[in-house]
């Protein structure tokens, strides 16, 4: 979790993302280009889900499972999340009837 009371800025989020992705993919942090897609480093679908789960914990907000697919670079993702932290935009949600098990029918 975020230890300080200062809201996290884009640089801090990008730094966290870099070390987390390096750990997930078992590659050196300084080999990651922040403008390159996660996939080009071999990030699997399951890694992308883990990343969004860990990000949710880190930022203390619930994030969509598919976040790292929808914003697939450190630059893009950190910019978006910095705005979320500053309260400028809403937390991106999964489209209810897209990736997740949505339901057409009401309760019984």
């Amino acid at each position: 979790m975020n230890a300080s009371d200062e809201p996290l800025d884009q640089v801090a989020i990008a730094t966290w993302l870099r070390s987390e992705i390096a750990r997930l993919l078992e590659i050196p942090p300084d080999s990651i280009d922040t403008a390159e897609s996660f996939e080009s480093y071999g990030m699997a679908s399951s890694d992308a889900l883990f990343l969004s789960g860990d990000l949710s914990e880190y930022l203390g907000v619930e994030l969509s499972a598919t976040l790292a697919w929808d914003h697939p670079t450190i630059d893009e993702l950190s910019e978006l999340l910095a705005k979320v932290v500053r309260g400028e935009i809403e937390v991106p949600k999964d489209s209810p009837d897209w990736d997740l098990g949505s339901e057409l029918f009401g309760t019984a």
Binding site: M43, T66, W69, D99, L100, G101, F105
Partner: protein
């Protein structure tokens, strides 16, 4: 005390099954969708499915209808709608929202193989997909994309239901994403009603059970285990998306706690993930004592995973004897062998050298060096099913304790692959040397000890990652496309079964001078694999030209490559 629960009646077709259950207990909860909280009783499933069938009028018997839907009650309604219409369902994983053009590739390949008459999806997906398909010329050109929201509004009274028999195909189960030969296993009504009934019996289910399943319904474990076994056994199930569970595995355990779930499970990787990623302090406050049967299958079962999971969740009341290891494949509908509820996972230590070099099972100390720990997958699901271990060269059945290919026969075994008589003949029509048969050749290697099956390896060129089958040739093709031409050497995609897990290794030959660029080549290989399959290799091994063994005709010898990697006999190219 008088027992009022009767054993649910056996049914020969899926329409018969769902209608019988609706007659027996119309208002019983059948499917709860975790994401929306939506609930469907059995009679609601029938009612909505009848509307879907009415909306699908005009199809011929045997026509294929693709189901491109997320997990949940909606999928169940669409599936039974297709059954009532008397046509063949083809469940396919929905594409991701952001990269539709590449995400539709599996669907394109499956459509090229089975030429569907329609695709049923959600309204939102239909709107996004239609322009992509209209802009291309291919297997989906002209195929109507129908929204389930529209289909359920059709007038059910207008439906003309087509009766199907036990030997008619119910759905196609596609098993791997192979480019050259996508294989749709033809599952008949008889196959699936038999297998689901055998699973319910093996699990000793009662209508008081409640299941939770997060394996998606385009996977055999999600469809047969998640949707159809609960219906057969007359108990309810909560359906989750795998995305939700992988993002935050604690949700699996919380769901079991909150809903007093008695039956749940998944492939080995799900258990490993939960043991790895759920922190000890989150385990406090969970009560998992209701969980009586934890099935694990669809990929090699690791004794280490079972230990780690039991250790992590034991404090929350998880009973390690709830583990229920099983073995099966798409070609057997779902389950071929399984254990006994409440007995847990039987782990055996076998001498690795004797097993791999001599093909013989010799017991050793479970903790000794050179021991391979194997988990028993139990016995054939019932007396109607028959398992043999066979020496493939001679066709002779092997004695207990000797490794061979696993052959299987019985009413759960599919009739063949869709529109592929050649592969069907080879895989489904095998005979022993005394002409006993036909048997299904599973392509897996195993050994029977004290009547129980232990899976030891694989003959077929398939790599299993997170319960998903990936064709080795496809991986090699994707990798070769990104490795620079001047140093293009042999590529081998192999799977190594170890005690703790299956390892997916890509071996790539590289020329002199490539050492400086080793890191970049490894990255390119991983990138190609991730883009094409959404998975990552456990290891990319760069080796000198001529290191990968081939046959005289130049074909890669994958099993031999795997043996060399295991033995450390392939020298990696040194990095800078």
């Amino acid at each position: 005390m008088t027992r009022t629960t009767t054993t649910p009646r056996t049914c020969a077709t899926l329409p018969d099954l769902v209608r019988t259950r609706a007659d027996e207990a119309p208002d019983r909860l059948q499917y709860r969708t975790a994401d929306s909280g939506g609930e469907l009783t059995v009679s609601q499933v029938v009612g909505h499915a009848e509307s879907v069938a009415a909306g699908l009028q005009g199809l011929e018997a045997g026509d294929r209808v693709v189901l491109l839907l997320p997990p949940g009650g909606t999928f169940a309604v669409a599936f039974f709608g297709v059954m009532f219409a008397g046509v063949v369902a083809v469940p396919v994983a929905p594409p991701g929202r952001t990269r539709l053009t590449s995400g539709l590739e599996p669907l394109r390949r499956i459509a090229a193989d089975c030429r569907p008459s329609a695709v049923v999806t959600t309204e939102a997906m239909a709107e996004a997909i239609r322009p992509v398909i209209e802009a291309e010329q291919g297997s989906l050109t002209g195929v109507p994309i129908l929204a389930i929201e529209d289909l359920v509004r059709a007038d059910a009274d207008a439906a003309a239901f087509r009766e199907r028999g036990t030997d008619d195909p119910a759905y196609l189960q596609y098993t791997s994403g192979s480019t050259s030969t996508p294989r749709g296993v033809v599952i008949t009504h008889g196959n699936v009603t038999t297998n689901a009934a055998a699973i319910a019996a093996a699990y000793r289910t009662t209508p008081e059970d409640h299941a939770m399943v997060w394996v998606p319904p385009h996977h055999d474990m999600g469809l047969v285990g998640g949707l159809l076994t609960p219906l057969t056994g007359g108990f309810s199930v909560t359906l989750w998306s795998p995305y939700q569970i992988l993002q935050s595995p604690i949700r699996w355990l919380e769901s079991i706690h909150e809903e007093r779930v008695t039956i749940s499970g998944g492939p080995d990787f799900g258990y490993r993930l939960a043991a790895d990623r759920v922190e000890a302090d989150r385990v406090q406050g969970l009560d998992l004592r209701s969980w009586r049967l934890a099935f694990t299958g669809a990929e090699p079962i690791s004794a280490a995973t079972i230990d780690a999971f039991a250790e992590r969740f034991g404090p929350a009341g998880f009973d390690r004897f709830a583990f229920y290891p099983c073995y099966g494949l798409a070609e057997t509908t779902l389950m071929a062998t399984g254990g006994i509820p409440g007995e847990g996972a039987r782990v055996r230590g076998l001498d690795r050298h004797m097993l791999e070099a001599e093909g013989r099972a010799v017991d050793t100390d479970v903790d000794a060096d050179g021991t391979r720990r194997l988990v028993s997958c139990g016995r054939p699901i019932d007396a109607d099913h028959d398992l043999r271990i066979v020496d493939v060269d001679s066709g002779l059945e092997q004695a207990e304790g000797t490794v061979g290919e696993i052959w299987f026969r019985g009413p759960s075994v599919a009739h063949g692959y869709h529109d592929d008589p050649q592969s069907t003949e080879v895989t489904f029509r095998a005979s022993l040397d005394d002409r006993t048969g036909p048997f299904l050749r599973t392509g897996d290697l195993g050994v029977v000890i004290d009547g129980e099956l232990y899976v030891t390896g694989r003959r077929k060129d398939v790599i299993v990652v997170n319960g998903r089958n990936i064709d080795a040739h496809d991986v090699e093709e994707a990798v070769r496309a990104v490795v620079d031409a001047p140093r293009k050497g042999q590529t081998a995609a192999i799977s190594i079964l170890e005690s703790d897990r299956e390892r997916f290794v890509v071996v790539q030959e590289v020329g002199r001078g490539a050492a400086d660029e080793a890191a970049r080549i490894v990255r390119d290989v991983q990138g190609a694999v991730a883009r094409r399959f959404g998975v990552r290799a456990d290891e990319v091994l760069l080796v000198r030209p001529g290191s990968v063994p081939t046959t005289t005709s130049g074909k890669i010898r994958r099993a031999e490559t795997a043996r060399l990697v295991r033995a450390g006999a392939l020298t990696p190219v040194e990095g800078p």
